[in-house]
Symmetry: C2
């Protein structure tokens, strides 16, 4: 009997939690975004909850304009640890939870990225994941000699080749290349070293990578793009996708579209786990859950709410907060902006109501209720071809995650929807993904099997 399909869970560790006012929560450590112990605690809670992975979003620069003035200095999304260094440290205080770091393909070199994630995979015993992003903001571009971000098409063209080079570098050494025979003095078998010699439109990279093949064969690749180019990149290369959707219909359309694109890359739909963001706020009663959420909602200052909208819709501070959302005149080319506009139109929201509706989940689905309510909501999408799992967006950290682990996870387990122990040692094993055989080893195996077949004829 095949194992029942289980819901996958990740957690986003950005800021002090996903809610705009997270750092002001009465029980939060206000400076936790720069405190190592805050992240130690958070990843340990994630592991206690048997989550597949803890995920660190990232920007190569502050990604938010101070618009309206004061917006930036009233949030905590200004400073943070660099993800690869932080997750390497956290690998030492956790055993099983996956560690997914964001790295930009627009402002990096593939050789560095290949090395760092390979190194994290070794350090963590096979728990590394790379969240591939193309860095959309002009603020980041200005830290790398540009006036603004390159156009989306160009960024994605580069990203596709970038991922290709990184994957090629990860195959520099076969699994058993290192003999390390002290007696003969042979350290590696030269036949099992493969020089990449990549020559492409954006990159010329000789290789080999100076890191041994990693415990997962290669680190897990995560993608979050919602645009057409993002979907294509995900279908071609991703093991996990973090999606954003508010409704079952949108989530299902996205899910089916991405999975339908996979066969053209020779991939089976099961090889990609789609995990939409989910802000889950549990309470023993619905009222308790609402009260918990309301504590944070009341801490959202107008300048911060307007700042959150300004990232996608431009500065709206000249309009009446309690009036309707005007047609945005400074809209950025970002799918999140459209989600916000749809939310406002669908529910006839004022500007204040709109920023309060996104203050928690920033456009991701939000479920506030009993553990049963939350797991019902998960099941609907999980069984409705809309999700393989969820990327939990805790309101604040670590408390909001502790609530999910203590209340929601047991309900998922009770229904047989979630693991009761980690299945494997590596992130890949826990995600139920196969170990990627080295292409040269696969070719040798195929040749041998053909030769044996011919001999038998």
């Amino acid at each position: 009997m095949p194992a029942t399909r289980k819901i996958r869970l990740g957690v986003s560790m950005v800021g002090m939690g996903y809610h705009l006012a997270a750092w002001r929560h009465p029980d939060a450590s206000a400076g936790g975004n720069m405190e190592l112990q805050h992240f130690v605690k958070t990843t340990q809670v994630a592991e206690r909850g048997l989550l597949d992975m803890a995920f660190l979003a990232d920007g190569v620069g502050i990604r938010f304009n101070d618009r309206p003035p004061g917006a930036l200095s009233h949030t905590c999304k200004n400073v943070q640890f660099e993800p690869l260094t932080l997750l390497s440290a956290l690998a030492m205080v956790t055993e099983r939870v996956g560690l997914v770091a964001t790295a930009s393909t627009t402002y990096n070199e593939p050789y560095h990225v290949a090395r760092k994630f390979a190194s994290l995979d070794h350090i963590s015993g096979g728990r590394a994941g790379w969240n591939v992003v193309t860095s959309a903001t002009d603020m980041e571009a200005q830290n790398f000699g540009l006036d603004g971000a390159p156009a989306k098409g160009g960024r994605y063209d580069r990203a596709i080749e970038f991922v290709d080079v990184v994957r090629g570098l990860w195959e520099s050494w076969e699994d058993d290349a290192f003999v390390r025979d002290k007696a003969s003095g042979v350290n590696y078998d030269p036949a099992k070293l493969h020089i990449l010699n990549h020559q492409g439109e954006h990159f010329r990279v000789r290789g080999p990578l100076n890191v041994q093949r990693t415990p997962q064969g290669r680190p897990i690749i995560v993608q979050a793009g919602a645009s057409d180019q993002g979907r294509e990149l995900a279908a071609a290369t991703a093991d996990v996708v973090y999606a954003a959707a508010q409704t079952l219909e949108d989530a299902r359309a996205y899910y089916q579209d991405v999975k339908r694109r996979m066969p053209r890359y020779g991939r089976h739909p099961d090889q990609l786990k789609i995990m939409p963001g989910l802000m889950a706020v549990p309470g023993r009663t619905r009222q308790e859950a609402q009260d918990r959420y309301q504590v944070l909602q009341e801490l959202v200052q107008p300048v911060v709410g307007l700042g959150a909208l300004a990232n996608y819709l431009g500065d709206l501070s000249e309009y009446d907060l309690d009036g309707p959302l005007p047609e945005p005149k400074d809209r950025r080319d970002h799918s999140r902006g459209q989600i916000f506009i749809d939310m406002a139109r669908r529910n006839n929201l004022t500007i204040r109501q709109l920023y309060l509706s996104i203050a928690g989940g920033n456009g991701h689905r939000t479920v506030i209720g009993t553990p049963a309510d939350i797991v019902d909501a998960m099941e609907e999408w999980f069984h409705g071809e809309a999700a393989d799992g969820f990327n939990i967006l805790p309101t604040w950290l670590p408390g909001g995650l502790e609530e999910v682990v203590e209340m929601v996870v047991p309900e998922m387990q009770r229904r047989g929807l979630y693991r009761t122990a980690y299945e494997g040692r590596t992130l890949r094993e826990n995600l139920g993904l196969a170990y990627p055989e080295h292409p040269a080893a696969a070719a040798r195996r195929a040749a041998l099997s053909q030769a044996l077949g011919s001999a038998a004829e």
Copy 2:
């Protein structure tokens, strides 16, 4: 009474130790260069020995040609952990020892480097150091779209500006910029945020850095350049220099030259600690020390010895191993090559004798003897204006370092030349270097003091 000047000690953790045959040592873990526990043990031994810092050399690519063929596959200098990820992990299993990672200014962007070292400094509680290198090999260049390394002058021009940008980014936030007042919702004081807006010949970087000012104010800067450009960069910016010299005269000339260049950058010579490499091989008797060294010398295969010479002098495999060193026809522009030639000429060495003489220290000073012999040798340079301390190059790891910690350190302590406990929590404190006041805070303090002076008149 002022504290007596103490000898500083660092340790190089490259490969499986500095000796070419380190990985073949009978007690070594042959694959330790890719084993996390090997490095955990090594840094913990360094900390037991109260060393200032553990240092990880690095190349962005394999830096050794397979010349003569087989040279590469018979050494372990082919794969390694990426330094910033590894040292972040090691920060979690050590308390006091400094953690110095190498990063190239030629193939990186200053924003990434500034972030990653700032992050490591936070993770380690103020123990991060950046070893600034310009990456001399063509093999590294070929991983970044080039056919060969840029000329040295250009690399150093870029390095000088690069370090300047990184230091500017590290001053994005004043020490007390983050108010994090939950009641008012003010996270930081905008007056204490400084946008760099760097526009230079090689870089345009707006800033600010998205990492809070670090426990050391800024990470320690380490340099190892021996050339004129390297010395100038060290005099201008370095806190620590790893030098390479064989003789007291050469070491003293280097020491005095670099320190003499400092005042033109407004720096006092005490602000830079010069720590030549020292391969120290202790034994209870001189014979025991020699025997220990001989174990490794006998494991050096000719192909590996020739390979080590080939990096600097070209492939000499067509010559008689037991004949004299010919005039090199394929010499690389590297100061280490000249050291090798001088060694051969000074002692009339055959090719085999030359590679055996560099098999351990690779051109660095080597002292094989009793702890008293080794500390005598240290004192000669330390009191002879040739060294502020030493970068210990263990023959193999962790054993070669354990011998130094167990035999040499106690002798240094007995003579009052070395600490008996760490003086501070940060690398900067342990090196006896002052905390760098933020320039804006310094300017405010100066203005205030002037205003008070005027008022008193």
